[in-house]
């Protein structure tokens, strides 16, 4: 799985961090998404898929 994020689209809702905290973080100043792991291990995949679904800005892209 390959993950990309679009910081321009991100609205800082933190839904991705709640879903998969090992893969996503937020910038301290403005809460914008930071990608920690663009190729997460298999045990994270369900959480990352969940993050992509709940992200309100549709700022998370997955290639499986």
């Amino acid at each position: 799985m390959r993950v990309t994020v679009d910081q321009e689209k991100c609205v800082g809702s933190g839904q991705c961090v709640l879903s998969a905290e090992k893969v996503f973080d937020q910038r301290d100043e403005d809460g914008i998404v930071v990608l920690l792991d663009p190729e997460p291990p298999a045990d994270q995949h369900d959480d990352v898929r969940q993050a992509a679904i709940v992200c309100p800005a549709m700022a998370i892209d997955l290639v499986e």
């Binding site: 689209k9 609205v11 800082g12 809702s13 933190g14 839904q15 961090v17 709640l18 879903s19 937020q26 910038r27 301290d28 100043e29 403005d30 809460g31 914008i32 969940q50 679904i53 709940v54 309100p56 800005a57 549709m58």
Partner: protein, 418 residues
């Protein structure tokens, strides 16, 4: 035939055709206070998009389908800008207020993103998690007072409203001593029956109050969000003091009206589902508590006046084409009862995975304060039923007054005892 008669007959014709379009919002069934209006749901059975008639006789689209709601709320061709003539205003008062002062709720990107990003950092997960001990302390203090006080007691005034009010006051740096003033004005703003004059007056009372407070923060800053924003935005000229005051009103009101209603209404729902309440009371698993909060958000969906938008271009959706300039109202409470997404949707089930709910909206305007709301609700529900295990209603459910006329749904008061 002169022009005036011609016009009025045309108007009459218009009115007649309007009468066939159902009026929105619709009433909930009195016996099912947690469920969306039956009429809304029967409309939804006919398809995810229907026309409805608003207070001003405009006939926007009503979107009830979960998939269609998410599609439209995330579509940049769908505008939240209240200056668009086709924007479906919820009430005369909200229309008047938005003409006078717009917040980022009523703006599109890039203006919206610029304004919203000023405050997003303060609601980031880590920042809010760091507030958890302070929130726990607030909740514990209020429960100490409850346990020492008389019974029965109104849980709204004694607990549900003070929890988020104290938290947002601490975050923003607003003196809690002023709570009677801002709660009174904010309840005018969220009542759908308020006149335009009353809405404008309440809004300007709050803007003036925050404008003064920001002035004082500029002169002598403290360690709070208003001081930070005053220094970063007003002192640098990025925003005027009044612009910041207008945004701050939104943070102050949104910070307590919604969460307070969730705490009180959630308590009613849990007391009516004792086996679910027992599971919540008995758990030591923070993940279960977090999941239970998501389910309560889905099931109760307290923002029941619809998210409001307007189409900027023609948009095909759900078998129809929404034309440029047409209003769109999205009924999240029906989307959250979509059985394709949430099997057996009318059942409150704290064990289900409800995280896809749209109670906070969707798209760029999705609630900014949701991380804070989540932590407040997790702490409040968890602690209240633990520390007062035999909490119960002190009146019959039929005698609880639900906020059918509120822009935010909840209960006016909640007499409880133990």
């Amino acid at each position: 035939m002169d022009t005036s008669t011609e016009l009025s007959s045309q108007e009459r014709l218009q009115t007649r055709s309007d009468e066939t379009v159902p009026a929105y919002p619709m009433d909930r069934a009195p016996r099912c206070p947690f469920d969306p209006a039956p009429e809304l749901r029967s409309l939804d059975e006919g398809g995810p998009l229907n026309r409805v008639r608003l207070w001003d006789r405009s006939t926007p689209w009503l979107v009830t389908g979960y998939a269609e709601q998410r599609q439209l709320l995330a579509d940049p061709r769908v505008s939240a800008d209240t200056k668009n003539p086709g924007y479906p205003h919820p009430t005369p008062a909200t229309r008047a207020r938005r003409e006078q002062a717009r917040t980022f709720l009523s703006m599109d990107d890039p203006e919206h993103a610029r304004m919203r990003r000023m405050v997003t950092g303060s609601f980031a997960i880590k920042r809010v998690e760091a507030m958890r001990p302070a929130i726990q302390q607030i909740v514990d203090n209020l429960i100490d007072q409850l346990l020492d006080g008389p019974r029965p007691v109104d849980l709204v005034q004694a607990f549900a409203l003070p929890v988020p009010s104290l938290v947002i006051c601490e975050l923003l740096g607003v003196p809690y001593a002023d709570h009677a003033f801002f709660q009174r004005n904010s309840s005018t703003l969220v009542n759908s029956g308020s006149s335009a004059e009353a809405g404008l007056e309440a809004q300007s009372n709050l803007v003036e109050y925050l404008n003064d407070l920001i002035g004082r923060k500029l002169a002598s800053p403290a360690d709070d969000l208003l001081s930070l924003l005053a220094a970063e935005q007003v002192a640098t000229g990025a925003l005027t003091q009044r612009e910041l005051a207008v945004t701050s009103v939104l943070l102050l009101i949104a910070g307590h009206e919604t969460t307070a209603n969730m705490i009180a209404l959630g308590t009613v729902a849990l007391l009516e589902h004792p086996e679910q309440l027992a599971d919540l009371r008995g758990t030591d698993d923070p993940a279960f508590v977090a999941g239970a909060v998501e389910e309560l958000l889905r099931y109760l969906n307290i923002t029941h006046f619809g998210r409001r938008r307007v189409a900027l271009t023609d948009i095909p959706v759900g078998g129809h084409t929404i034309r440029a300039g047409e209003g769109i109202v999205l009924a999240n409470e029906v989307g959250n009862r979509d059985q394709e997404v949430f099997p057996d949707p009318d059942r409150l089930d704290l064990h289900r995975d409800a995280r896809r709910h749209v109670a906070f909206g969707f798209g760029p305007h999705q609630c900014l304060g949701q991380p804070l709301a989540r932590v407040e609700l997790q702490v409040a529900y968890r602690t209240l039923y633990r520390r007062i295990p035999d909490l119960r209603l002190a009146v019959a459910l039929e005698d609880v007054r639900f906020k059918h006329d509120g822009l935010v749904y909840g209960v006016y008061e909640l007499p409880v005892t133990w």
